[in-house]
Subunit: 192 residues, 2 copies
Amino acid sequence: MAWPRDHKEKSRNRILESAMVLFSSRGFNKVSIEEVMRNADLTHGSFYSHFKSKQELYAEAFKFAAKKSAVDKLPKNFEKDDRVLEKVLEKYLDFKHVKQDITPCPLTFLVTDVANEEAGVRKAYTQSYNRLVAFINKQLTNEGALRKEKALAISAMMIGSVAIARALENKKTSESLLEACKLIGTGLINKK
Amino acid sequence: MAWPRDHKEKSRNRILESAMVLFSSRGFNKVSIEEVMRNADLTHGSFYSHFKSKQELYAEAFKFAAKKSAVDKLPKNFEKDDRVLEKVLEKYLDFKHVKQDITPCPLTFLVTDVANEEAGVRKAYTQSYNRLVAFINKQLTNEGALRKEKALAISAMMIGSVAIARALENKKTSESLLEACKLIGTGLINKK
DNA sequence: GTCTATAAAAGGATAGAC
DNA sequence: GTCTATCCTTTTATAGAC
């Protein structure tokens, strides 16, 4: 029929966008295909024209989310300026991120979820994580022997603290945790 | 009938033990009540003599798991010795923990899972997390103004790195991450 | 490619016998 | 308190019309 040639791709992107938002906020297993499709203004029957299973959707949605996340949208080339990393920490470790007032980073929001899923999903996670670590590592221009280790530790503090903050029952403790990680993280950046 | 008076409690503990293991390794939503009960050598019908819902089981199992975890079994009183915390890091950030060759810490294995569940579960998580931070804080005897912040940052590195390591697809990257966090974490302990 | 309709299975929860 | 049997809802996945 006379469909625009990008029609399928647009539908697919709507599905991925829908899945990304829903999976991040409630977890993969608590979101049904019907819900993903409805949120993308489609009916659930047509899901299988795009993906062969829910697991495949997860892997694809994860890659899609990783591209859209704040970290991956950062410039690939930048000045020798430690403040870039400090600004990333500032934004990432903000309570707004915990509350999803900014687009959530799937590395954090789905970290445990992914561990329980199949290889394709974990591969998507790994690739996205490696890009984050590479970015941090590039920013640590003043470091010596511990540069790589600091990059990994900072990534763990970022992902860990936001994940924990999301699980805690009160906002105050969450914010203390985020602030502490900003402080200690920044300390790691600037000390040689 | 002539049941031993601790019969119900023993069954309950078997259910909690069973749930703890299964939830930690595969996540709350992927484990059915029938599976939990079968693993506890019971049939699923009798589940509701012990818990009113699966959510209630989760909260109770979490408290139970927290008590059994390595951290909570540590002595409450200890010498002024920084090495205690270093030893905890050594054990917690071991690949054996990732592979569940030691009893997994639910703070790590269920961190994202918990964030998507109801208040009772998050309360249990928060209490357990606060105990961990209090323990770390107590160990940091050489610190000054940043003592509290360091304790929080170390907790985020512990929980974060093991969670990430579980999600990654290859062992080598996971081990680099764990080693880096041991190193940087130990550095935070010893520097004033 | 998307729709409606439906199959088929899984899982949470309850009823009643012992 | 635990068992077997069953209800009922949700959910993944497929079939066939347009």
